[in-house]
């Protein structure tokens, strides 16, 4: 991070008209960061999605109705199982990334299929959790707490579906490739890996948020202060 800040401010301090600077500038490759366009795109999507989810978090915090059972979502339920599934996805992606680094391609196809399968299981699990919620009488219109929950999980699901679209495109190409050509797709696969890691971070952030911002926790904090 400090390197990035130094680079940024160093860049902004350059005097492009200066003779010495001109010599340095002319030897510039034209690229700002040494990463692929695909990874750059994923980083920018992270930025946009972070703002998007932060705003929904804010709406969530803003709108917890008084007297709401804010621990409801955290009682043993399918959300915990789905969280574990997301951890498994991240684990398999980390194995893929390590294999790519070692140029070991024998398990990449299998692991790519596993992460796609697990992601679909996650989505399916989310749908089941929604039906369970509705059966218990908590609909999207019940109160703003549940409205926020539904909208967050829906957008997270759409975000995941967007990732699965690109996963489908990359996987279909990789599965057709011979073992020794898989490394040609390295940029795309590692961009996917970043994308899924981000999905997990957002999910954990959300989990933390619904855990931290609830009446019980706030009361406990107040008791500590008093």
């Amino acid at each position: 991070m400090s390197n990035l800040i130094k680079k940024l401010f160093g860049t902004l301090l350059q005097k492009p008209w200066d003779k010495d600077q001109m010599v340095l500038d002319t030897s510039h490759t034209g690229k700002t960061f040494d990463i692929s366009s695909q990874k750059s795109a994923v980083i920018i999507i992270f930025g946009i999605a972070t703002v998007l989810f932060s705003l929904i978090f804010t709406a969530y915090i803003y709108s917890i109705p008084p007297g709401q059972d804010t621990m409801y979502l955290l009682k043993p339920n399918l959300l915990w199982a789905n969280t574990i599934i997301l951890f498994f996805v991240a684990y398999f992606f980390s194995r893929i990334t390590k294999d790519l680094e070692k140029k070991e391609t024998s398990k990449i196809k299998k692991n790519l299929i596993i992460v796609g399968g697990l992601s679909y299981i996650f989505l399916f699990g989310q749908l089941i959790f929604w039906t369970q919620l509705m059966k218990s009488g908590n609909y999207v219109t019940t109160n703003t707490y549940f409205s926020s929950f539904y909208i967050f999980t829906a957008i997270h699901g759409l975000h995941l579906l967007g990732g699965l679209f690109f996963w489908g495109k990359v996987s279909s190409r990789v599965l057709k490739l011979e073992q020794n050509k898989i490394l040609d797709e390295e940029k795309n696969i590692s961009a996917l890996s970043w994308y899924w890691t981000f999905l997990l971070i957002v999910w954990l952030g959300f989990f933390l948020m619904i855990y931290v911002f609830n009446d019980t926790f706030i009361d406990w904090c107040k008791s500590l202060v008093s």
């Binding site: 860049t11 902004l12 301090l13 350059q14 005097k15 492009p16 008209w17 200066d18 003779k19 001109m22 010599v23 500038d25 002319t26 030897s27 510039h28 490759t29 034209g30 690229k31 700002t32 960061f33 990463i35 366009s37 750059s40 795109a41 920018i44 999507i45 930025g47 946009i48 703002v51 998007l52 705003l55 929904i56 709406a59 803003y62 709108s63 109705p65 999207v140 219109t141 109160n143 703003t144 409205s147 926020s148 909208i151």
Partner: protein
């Protein structure tokens, strides 16, 4: 489809020594350029009419498509403003117009002009056309995504326009779309109208995100050799920073539009408090209308700079080229653009002083609002200092630039009035506010757009726009715009409220009637004057004077393509190599008053350094 890729060529960029046939033997070291490291881009070349001009992946064609569609929406917005002014100046003259129609026209005019006209035109139009050319790229990094971006915008415009034709018509809640009244019965267009507006905004944001990804990655990762960030024209800096703002601000609009749609369709209550209607409690409850205001203005204020920053960048380049001077304080100009961009996320609640906020909150936002005037004023000084002792060409482009500076200063100063809570509260909801924001983010950016059209039209078409018609266009617009907005400041001071269909029997009806008539006549004239440009373009395309290569004798890369207008791929066989920044005008010791960015040092050895 695969045979259409036959024309794809993988070409490797070569150094300038190779390009010029090794003409740098006198001083080979100072011209040294490292071999190409950035991979060559495979481009999709369309062959049929459809793939070449409709579903096209060439950023320049996409830029023109954006420009034309944004202009179309702008004309719709203009006609709506005429209808509003007709009612305000001559109540009842448009027999069909009811108060509901008036509110719908106000709403659609505002949203169209801010989002679908100005934003789309600056970022979609100029961004697409100029970014690859100015940074020396063959195209955007993801051309297919870029094409999809335009067609998403097209569908968004279609959905928005469709709202004119649904039962109840378009939404009439004001362009800020404040709930709860936006989605409640009694507000015009509270049914299908508001839903189509929200859907259109969601599509616009999705489409823009695809385009924005392209702009950012092309600028950061796909520049040609020697093109450092600090050698980029300020136009690119402006578009780059505005795109960053848009990528961070548009999600707020997306979330707001989505939640409001859910409030309307599913009956959620994100923005809906408990409401009594005719003694009956509605099913809504627990939500906060103020939350929507925060979301809207978290988007809405950066939106001002999403429009202004590209305008700042473009006008800097136009002033530099047409006064034959390097831009004064280039680094300061870049810092100001970046600084304004960062600060723009900390001022949003100055639009909400009258929402009943905590006074300390208002104090904070008043402070940040006034701070943002500092980098903005720096830019104004630098434009004036660029002009100072310049070899000014008093052509149409320069006239628009000067018009911009004056108008922007005017609108900016009234912004300082309104940034203060105690001044804003009495002026809020009066015509003073209308005058302020039309000057600063309506007329001022429009003047830059016009200047840019006259400047870059020779690049796009190979012909000069007619100067005489251009000057008529400028003077009518400039004087007309001041005739509209100067009196509005006065109307605001005497307390004439905005958003009123008519003044009824209030004292304003008698005291402001003459002024309202005058403003309306000026508005009709200014609107009509814009058709001079359309006539000029049509005439020029048929019989205009041919411009040839680099007609303005500019330094920046977009004028240095092998063919004019540039072909798909921009640079022929070899990518350009950049040896200097793009503001080497009137350099002491140089034979001509400009040195292009691709001129190697060995060709201009005895030149000095123009201090900036």
């Amino acid at each position: 489809m695969s045979e259409e890729f036959n024309d794809n060529k993988t070409i490797h960029a070569q150094s300038s020594e190779t390009i010029s046939g090794g003409g740098s033997s006198a001083a080979p070291d100072i011209d040294y350029v490292r071999p190409a490291e950035v991979e060559e881009q495979d481009l999709y070349h369309g062959h049929s009419f459809i793939t070449k001009w409709v579903f096209c992946q060439d950023a320049k064609v996409i830029g023109v498509q954006y420009f034309l569609l944004a202009t179309f929406t702008g004309i719709v917005g203009l006609i709506l403003s005429w209808l509003m002014r007709l009612q305000l100046g001559f109540p009842g003259a448009a027999g069909f117009m009811t108060a509901e129609h008036y509110y719908q026209f106000v709403t659609m005019h505002g949203m169209i002009m801010v989002v679908y006209f100005l934003t789309a035109l600056f970022l979609g139009g100029f961004g697409n056309y100029l970014i690859p050319l100015m940074v020396g790229a063959r195209d955007m990094v993801f051309p297919y995504l870029n094409m999809v971006s335009f067609w998403m915008f097209f569908i968004a415009v279609g959905v928005l326009m469709a709202s004119f034709f649904v039962p109840g018509g378009p939404t009439g809640a004001g362009w800020t779309l404040y709930p709860p009244q936006t989605i409640l019965e009694g507000t015009p267009g509270s049914g299908a109208g508001i839903l189509l507006m929200c859907l259109s905004l969601i599509l616009f944001v999705a489409g823009f995100t695809m385009g924005g990804l392209n702009y950012l990655i092309t600028i950061l990762q796909a520049r040609t050799r020697g093109m450092t960030l600090m050698r980029m024209p300020l136009t690119v800096w402006g578009i780059f920073t505005a795109t960053v703002l848009a990528m961070l601000a548009f999600p707020a609009l997306l979330v707001g539009a989505l939640m409001m749609s859910l409030d309307k369709v599913l009956g959620t209550s994100f923005f809906m408090p408990t409401i009594l209607k005719a003694g009956e409690v509605l099913e809504y409850g627990g939500g906060s209308p103020i939350l929507f205001q925060h979301l809207f203005w978290f988007f809405g204020h950066p939106e001002v700079y999403i429009v202004a920053l590209p305008a700042f960048g473009i006008v800097s380049d136009l002033i530099s080229v047409h006064s034959r001077k390097n831009i004064f304080g280039y680094r300061m100009m870049v810092w100001a653009i970046v600084g304004i961009g960062a600060l723009s996320f900390f001022v949003w609640a100055h639009h909400m002083y009258v929402s009943g906020m905590n006074p300390w909150f208002g104090f904070f936002f008043a402070t940040t609002t006034l701070i943002i005037a500092v980098p903005t004023a720096m830019k104004v000084y630098n434009w004036i200092l660029t002009l100072w002792r310049g070899n000014i060409r008093m052509n149409t482009v320069m006239l628009w630039c000067l018009g911009f500076i004056v108008t922007f200063v005017n609108g900016g100063i009234t912004g300082i009035f309104l940034g203060n809570v105690s001044v804003d509260v009495p002026l809020s909801d009066t015509y003073f506010v209308i005058a302020h924001f039309h000057m600063v983010m309506g007329i001022a950016p429009l003047m830059v757009i016009m200047g840019a059209v006259y400047h870059w039209f020779p690049l796009v078409s190979g012909r000069f726009l007619d100067e005489k018609l251009g000057k008529w266009h400028f003077w009518t617009t400039f004087l007309g715009a001041y005739s509209i907005y100067f009196p509005m400041h006065y109307l605001g001071f005497i307390g004439v409220p905005r958003r009123y269909f008519e003044m009824y029997d209030s004292p304003y009806m008698t005291s402001a009637v003459g002024m309202n008539e005058f403003i309306s006549l000026a508005a009709f004239l200014v609107g009509a004057a814009q058709f001079i440009l359309i006539y000029n373009i049509i005439k020029t395309l048929k019989t205009g004077k041919r411009a040839g290569s680099n007609p303005w004798k500019a330094c920046s890369l977009e004028w240095l393509t092998p063919s004019v207008p540039p072909e798909h791929g921009n640079w022929g066989d070899r990518l350009p190599v950049v040896h200097r920044w793009c503001y080497d005008y009137s350099v002491p010791g140089a034979k001509e008053d400009f040195i292009t960015q691709t001129t190697p040092p060995s060709e201009v050895q005895n030149t000095g350094v123009e201090k900036t």
